[in-house]
Amino acid sequence: MSEHIVSPKVYLIIFAALMLGTGITVWAAFQNFHQFNIVIALGIATIKATLVVLYFMHARYSPGRTQLVIVCSVFWLAIMLALTLADYDTRPHDMTLAVPQVFYCV
């Protein structure tokens, strides 16, 4: 298996993109997008994380096995979050005191 060497130029481009993402996140936090503030913040964070995984961590050039491992970790995290939130979000609202519905209040 010959190793793929990522050139420093690519690293610098990715770094610039990450900096840009950080800037946008901070800017967006001070605007009032109502419930979309959190969506924007997490969306940008996910894009940044993806760039780090693909280029800094070489996932783009890794064997399929490594990529499968990454997909699995995201998938299982998603299972945990989604199924738990599914319970909270469909609880009979009127009978719950401590925890209101999740998505409306964030």
Binding site: T25, V26, A29, A49, L77, C105
Partner: protein
């Protein structure tokens, strides 16, 4: 277990050894994702229940330090990636330089974190008996921005009229803040230890285009820690900033 050069006895080839080490690190990172995942779930449920208290707590954080630290950490990821590249192309001196740079940036990050923790301590925002969201507005510290302080005071008072348990719920935010950033900082400290070990190795010129597995897998770890922060920053620092 005996080893010949860089090859441990139970492997057939260096390539097999590298593949094994890399896969091992990736799988370790999977467990880390789930480990932090439990915290993120706890955070999500509590934030949705107590959005006001979380907003106030978040607004007490220093966004300049937080954003600055984000830049520092991403920069350290860049130098780490460059260290891996230097090893791959055989520039032995550059490996040491980039590793030292990474360690330096990591230390800056931890230093800034310590300053932030100290500030929270002074403001009575450490979860526990002394915790009081109303303490800081009532006891300004030298160097406080009076405008910010007035805003914080107004927010706390308004929140208290809505939610008598604002201290309990604010304490939840700060418990999660310290839990998540503390666990992250712990990972940084472990990473710094690994970097010191690598730097020592790099001085002997150990890392070559043929053998650079340790640099590569510590790099994976370091980038992962960076990713955790990429999520922590907006989740902890940027709630309700637009108020």
């Amino acid at each position: 277990m005996h080893r010949t050069g860089d090859l441990y006895g139970h492997f057939q080839t260096l390539e097999q050894q590298k593949e094994t080490a890399t896969l091992g690190m990736w799988i370790f990172l999977v467990t880390e994702v789930l480990f932090f995942g439990g915290l993120f779930l706890t955070y999500t449920i509590n934030r949705s229940a107590f959005s006001t208290a979380f907003g106030i707590g978040s607004n007490t954080l220093d966004i300049t330090l937080g954003a600055g630290n984000t830049v520092v950490l991403i920069l350290s990821s860049l130098t780490m990636a460059m260290a891996v590249w230097s090893a791959q192309v055989g520039k032995k001196k550059l490996v040491s330089i980039f590793l030292i740079a990474t360690l330096g940036l990591g230390s800056v990050f931890l230093g800034v974190k310590a300053v932030e923790y100290k500030q929270k301590f002074d403001h009575h925002l450490i979860p526990g008996r002394g915790f009081d969201m109303k303490y800081h507005p009532a006891h300004p510290m030298p160097g406080d921005d009076p405008k910010e302080l007035a805003l914080e005071k107004k927010e706390v008072e308004e929140a208290f009229s809505h939610d008598p348990d604002i201290n309990a719920h604010g304490q939840l935010y700060f418990s999660l803040y310290f839990g998540m950033t503390g666990l992250h900082a712990l990972h940084m400290i472990v990473g710094a230890g690994l970097l010191i070990w690598l730097i020592k190795g790099s001085f002997t010129g150990r890392f070559t285009p043929q053998y650079n597995t340790p640099v590569e897998i510590v790099g994976l770890y370091w980038h992962f820690v960076d990713i955790v922060w990429i999520y922590l920053f907006p989740l902890l620092y940027l709630i309700d900033r637009h108020r």
